[in-house]
Symmetry: D2
Subunit: 371 residues, 4 copies
C-alpha cells in the first residue's frame, strides 16, 4: 500500500493539472531499515519510525494512513485534531467503536475546514465512474437488484497468519477487506443506504495457519475466510454480497451487477476498463449487453489525463485518480465523482458490523440497531 | 413444456440406441381445441382432456407430467399407484405437503419396480455432466464455496398475472421456478445436502399485474419476483442462491460456480456448451481458467449421440438426453449420470421450504427442522 | 451429413407450420449394410444403393445430395433434368467445370419451375439472419472491411487420408470445405460480389496421411490444410479469408466480422446464438459492442418456431431452418432470407477457383477471368 | 508519445531496481511554447527546439526519438555517430533507404559498444512476454499458422489530414503504424523471419481529409487506411496480417494467434493482462483454451516490479518495462526478453516494404528481393 499511495501522489502531480503539487514530505513506518530504502526509492524527503512525527510537523498538510486496521484510529484522530487533512485506507477501522470515534473526530475537524478521505479506490476506475453517471442520470430506472462479489484465492491453507487473519488487528477477514469495497461501491452507485441485513454467513475455513516467523508452527486465525450476506436498501433494492479469500482461480474478482427497471450494469475488475451496460428493458431486436471500453478521453471520468482511447489503464490508476480528486477538493474544486469521507465510510462500517452480527446471531439485523 | 417433452421423446428415439422405443401414446390437456392440433403436430396417437385417461389405460407405461405445480400431486400419485412410471416437471410440488405425499407414493411404487423421475433438465447439459464427473473424481478437492444464480428478465410490470404468479398454484415465484434448478444442480454436483439456510430474502417487486383475460384490470401477484438465500452444506461448503424474474438484460442466466481446495468450475447456461475449469490451486505460470467446449463425441456425456466436435447443442438437448437416460433406466441400464427421482427432488423441496421460512421469519433455519 | 439432413426434414415438419409435409421416401448410399440400419433409425421408407433409383421414381419430388464433392454433378444434373428439385451439399462441386455444368442444368430446369438449393446452412443461424437484416437496412453504412475465418483442428498428422484429402474427389481441402462457407456468408451478408483476389496461400501441412484401411501405411494428401486469401468486393470492401484444419484448439471456429462506416458486426459460430453489433460509428460515452442473444421469438428469424427467449439453439437448427425455408419456397412463399441456388453457389465456386489460381500463380486474379 | 516515454523513464527508475538511474536531461521539440510547459510538467531539466542540442551535449547518454517517421533517420544517425545510445519509435523509418542507413549507423556504433533500440512496446506486455517463453520452450511444437490484426477506428472521414496520412512523412498509413507492431510481435514470438509475401492489399478509403489548420478545406491523403497481407515464414508457418484505421468499433484491437502442432496461443491487447493458451493438441476431456491472467509477480515477466496478483497493468507499463530493460542492457545485464535493435527493426521494415510492393504490383514478393 505504501508503494500504491506513493505512486498515486507522484502520478497525480504529473498527469493531472492542479494548482496544488503534492510534496512527499515524510514517510513513517516501524521498521527503520526498510524505511530508509523505501523513502529513497519513492522520493520521500524524510522518514520516521513514529507517525507522531508527521502530526507534530507544521509543514505536513495531509496524513495518508496505510497501516493495519487497528492503527487507523490513533493517527487519524490526532492528525485531524491537529488540523491536518487525513486520507485513510479502508475499512475505516477494525471496530465499530474506533470507526465512530474517527467519524466524530472528522466531524469536529470539518467545522474548521479540515477534510477526511477514505481510500475506496475502486470508485475511481473510469468504468465505475461511468456507472455512477449513468445511475445518477436515471438510466437504469428503479434499481431492483444488486449483486456484488469480491473473490480472491490467496488465503489457502499455506498462507501465513499475518495480521489480516487476526480479529484483534483486522476486525474481520475477507469481510472487512473485500466486502467493504463492494458495500462502498454499491452505496456509491445507488446513492442509497442499506436498511436491513437479511442474513449472513462468515466462515473460517482455515482456523490454523503457519506462523509467519516460524513456518513449522501454526497460529490461530479467528477471522472469516468467506463471508456472504443479503441485504435490502432503503429504496427497496435487494442486494447480495460475497467475499472470499479461498475462491480458487479468482485472483482479484471484484464484480458488481445492478439491475433496474429500465436498464442494467455490470463491472468486473479483472477487466477493469470495461463497463457492461444494458440500455432499456430487455426485448427488441437489437437489445443486448453493450461492452463499453471506458477509455475514451473525451467521454469518461479521469481518462483525459492519461492516454488515447483504448490504451487501457490498470489498478494503480484508481489510486492516482483518487489522489487527483483529493487535490481538487483541497484546492476548492469538486471531485469528478463524490469522494468518501469518514462520515461516509462510517455508513459502510455499520453495514460490515450488521452482517457480522447477523452471522453470529443467525438472524436478520436492521441497520437502525447499529449505531 | 409439452413441445419440449414431445420433442425429447422423439429425438431420444432417433439419436440414442435403445432397446426401448418411446411411443407417443396419448396426450392430455384441458383445452380440447388446441389439444387436437398439438397431438397432430407432434405425432401423439390419441388425446384426452382428462389425465385420468392415461392412468386408466393399460397400454400407457409412463406418465410425463408438465402441468402447473399444483397439478403434479394427483396425477403422479395416481399413476404411481397404478404401476406406471412417472416423469414430473420441476419443482416436485407447490407445497411441502404435496411433495411429501409424492415422495411417499414413489417410495411405495419403487418396491414394485416403478420409477419416478423429475425433469431437472440442466443436469443433462454435457458441460454439467462433465462438471459432475470432475467433482466425483475429486478434481476440486474439498469444496469450500458455491455460487448459484438463475436470473431472467421477463417478469416486468407488464407481464400478465398467469399461474406462475399465484402462490396457490405455483407455491412460490422465481424461487420454486428458478432456484429449484440451482439447488438441484448444486446438490447433484457436490453430492451433498444442505444443512442450514443462514438467511433469505423474497420480494414481490410487482404485487399487481395485468389480468391475462383483461389487460385493463390487474390481479394480485403474491409470489417472489426475486429470492436469494445463503446456505451451508453438511460437508461445510458455503453456498449462495439468487433467483430473479426482473433482472433486466439477463434472459436465461442460469449459472453456477464451485470453488474447491484444488480446483474450481463455472457454468453459464447462455453459453451452455462451455465448462470453465480451473485445474489445481491458483498460482504458477500457466495457471488459469480453461474454457472446455464440452462437445467432443469421444469425451463428453451424451455427445456421441449427436454431432461432430464443436457442432454445438442447444436447450432442447438437455431434455432429449434426459429422455434417453430414462429409457436406459427403464431398460435396466444405468443412466449416464444419476437421474433425480421423487426422493431426490424432495430434498430440493425441503431447501426451497427452508428458504421461504427463513425469509418470512427473518432468521436462520436448520434443514433438520423441515420434514 | 445424412443424419443432419434427415433430422432437418423431420424437425422442419414438426416445428414449422407448412402446407407441405416432407416425406422421407428413399435414402440412397453405397454401403447396403449400414444403409438399412440408417434408414430404419431415421424413418426412411425405402433405401437403395443407387441414387438413380430416386431420379427414376416418379414419387420423389426432391433429391437431397450429401455425397462427396465429386458425386454432386451427376445426380444433380440428372435429377434436375428429370424435373426434380435438388438440394445439394456445399461446395457446389469439386471442379469449376462440374459447377458450371450444374449451374447450367439448374438454369434449364428453373424455366420449368424446378428449384435448386445449396446447403450453406450457416446462413440460417438466427444471429446470421439478423446480421443480414441489419446490413440490408443499411445499419452499417458503407462496408469497408470484412474478415472471415473458419478454423478447425481435426486435420493433424494422424488424421487418415479420407476423400476430403484427395484433390480428385474434394477439389481442394480446407478451402472448399471451410472457405466456401465464409465466401457464401460474406456474399450473402454484403449483397455484393468479389471482384478480385489480391493474393492467396494454400499449404499442405501433412502431405502423407495414414491409409484409412491400413493405418501402418500412408497415402498422399494433395489438398490444402491451410488456405488464406485476400479479396475486394465490387463495392470496394476489402476482405480476408482464412481456412484451416490444423488450427490447434479451434474446434469449429467459424467467424466473420464486418466493418462499415456507420456500424459493425461480429459472429462466431462457437457461440452461435450471439451477434455482436456496434451501432453507429465509434466514440461517445456509451459507444460499444452489443452482445445480442438472437433467441427472442418475436424478434429474430426462425426463432418463433423453437423455444422461449434464451433457450438457445444449436448446430442442427441451421439445417432445420433451411429445410423449413425450402418447404416455404416449394409451397410458393418466400424464404425468411434468400436461399442459395446453383447460380448463387456458382459465384462462390468462382471465388474458390480464383483463390486457388492466385496461390498457384503467385499473383492477383480478377474474377472476370474466371468463367 | 512524449508523455508515454517521459513516464516510462520515470516509472522504470522507481519500480525497477537498477544500478542506473535515468535522468530526464533535455527534451527537444519544435514548438517552443508547449515545450516549456511539457518540460516542467514531466520534470525535464532542460528543453530545446533543436534535437541537435542533445547530440552535441556530452552529458546526454541516450537519445529517445519520438518524432514523426521522417525525422527518425537524421537524429538517430547523428546521435549514434556521436556515441550516444538511441531508442527510436517504430517503425524504424518512413522509407527502406532511411531504415537501411539507420541500420548501418547502428552497426557501426555497435562496434564501439553503443546500443540502438526500437520502441516495439507490445513485446513487453507481460502476457506477450509469457507467450515468448512458452514458444521458446517449444510448448507449441512446430508453428503452422499465425494470424495477426491491429484494428483501430479513429481514421473516419472526419479525421484531419495530419502527418500520419502523408506518405512523404509517414511512409505508409495503417501499415507502417499498426502492421509494424504485429510483424515485430510475430517475428519475436516465432524467432523466425518472413520469407515471402504471397499477396497484399492497401486501400485508401478516404483520399481527401480535412485540413488540420482549416477544417473547411480538404487535403490529399495518400496512405493506406486498410492494409492486409499474407506471408510465410522461413520455417513454414503461414501468416496473415491486417491493419486498419477504419474498423468501426475496434478501438485498439491489437491481436495475435499462433497455432502449432502441440499447442496454441492468443493475445488481445484490449484485454492485455490475459494470455490464452491451448496446451497440447485438441481433444481429450478437459482440453480447452486457458485464460492466464499474466499478473502473478512470481511467475510472469516484469510483474514482480509492480503490484500483487491480478492488480492489473495497463498500456503504459509496456513502455516502463521496456525502459527498465534498456537500463538493464546499459548496465551490462540481459533484458528480460530480447530488445529489438535497429538490425532487428530493419527486418520488420523489409516485410513492410515487401507487402507494399506486393500490393502495388499485384503479385507475390520474396523477401530475398528486398534489401
Amino acid at each position: 500500500m505504501g508503494r500504491a499511495h506513493s505512486n498515486a501522489w507522484r502520478q497525480a502531480g504529473r498527469f493531472f493539472a492542479s494548482p496544488l503539487t503534492p510534496v512527499l514530505h515524510t514517510v513513517a513506518a516501524r521498521d527503520a531499515d526498510s524505511l530508509a530504502k523505501f523513502a529513497a526509492q519513492w522520493g520521500w524527503a524524510q522518514h520516521s519510525t513514529r507517525w507522531q512525527t508527521l502530526v507534530e510537523d507544521p509543514d505536513v498538510g495531509l496524513l495518508d494512513i496505510g497501516t493495519p486496521n487497528d492503527v487507523h484510529e490513533a493517527p487519524a484522530v490526532d492528525a485531524l485534531a491537529a488540523g491536518k487533512h487525513v486520507a485513510c485506507e479502508k475499512p475505516l477501522a477494525h471496530t465499530l467503536d474506533a470507526a465512530r470515534s474517527m467519524r466524530d473526530a472528522a466531524k469536529r475537524a470539518a467545522r474548521k475546514g479540515v477534510h477526511s478521505f477514505v481510500w475506496f479506490n475502486y470508485r475511481r476506475c473510469p468504468a465505475v465512474g461511468l456507472a455512477y453517471q449513468l445511475l445518477r442520470e436515471g438510466k437504469l430506472g428503479t434499481v431492483h437488484e444488486v449483486r456484488a462479489r469480491y473473490l480472491q484465492a490467496w488465503g489457502g491453507a499455506d498462507t501465513p497468519r499475518v495480521w489480516r487473519f487476526q480479529k484483534s488487528r483486522a476486525g474481520s477477514g475477507a469481510h472487512g477487506d473485500l466486502n467493504a469495497h463492494m458495500i462502498d461501491m454499491a452505496r456509491f452507485l445507488l446513492g442509497d443506504e442499506i436498511a436491513e441485513v437479511h442474513g449472513a454467513v462468515a466462515r473460517t475455513v482455515h482456523p490454523q495457519r503457519p506462523d509467519p516467523s516460524n513456518p513449522r508452527k501454526t497460529l490461530r486465525s479467528d477471522v472469516d475466510d468467506i463471508c456472504s450476506f443479503l441485504a435490502s436498501f432503503a429504496g427497496g433494492a435487494t442486494a447480495s454480497f460475497e467475499a472470499s479469500r479461498v475462491a480458487t482461480g479468482e485472483l482479484n474478482d471484484n464484480g458488481l451487477a445492478v439491475y433496474g427497471s429500465d436498464g442494467a450494469l455490470r463491472f468486473d475488475f479483472e477487466d477493469m476498463n470495461v463497463l457492461w451496460f444494458h440500455e432499456g428493458a430487455s426485448g427488441g431486436r437489437t437489445s443486448g449487453w453493450k461492452r463499453i471500453l471506458a477509455t475514451s478521453p473525451d467521454h469518461h471520468p479521469w481518462v483525459d489525463a492519461w492516454w488515447p482511447d483504448a490504451h487501457v489503464l490498470g489498478y494503480e490508476h484508481g489510486f492516482a485518480n483518487m489522489a487527483a480528486d483529493i487535490l481538487r477538493v483541497l484546492s476548492g474544486r469538486d471531485p469528478i465523482v463524490p469522494l468518501p469521507d469518514f462520515a461516509d465510510a462510517w455508513e459502510t462500517q455499520r453495514v460490515l458490523e450488521a452482517a457480522l452480527r447477523a452471522a453470529k446471531d443467525r438472524k436478520a439485523v436492521r441497520l437502525s440497531a447499529v449505531r
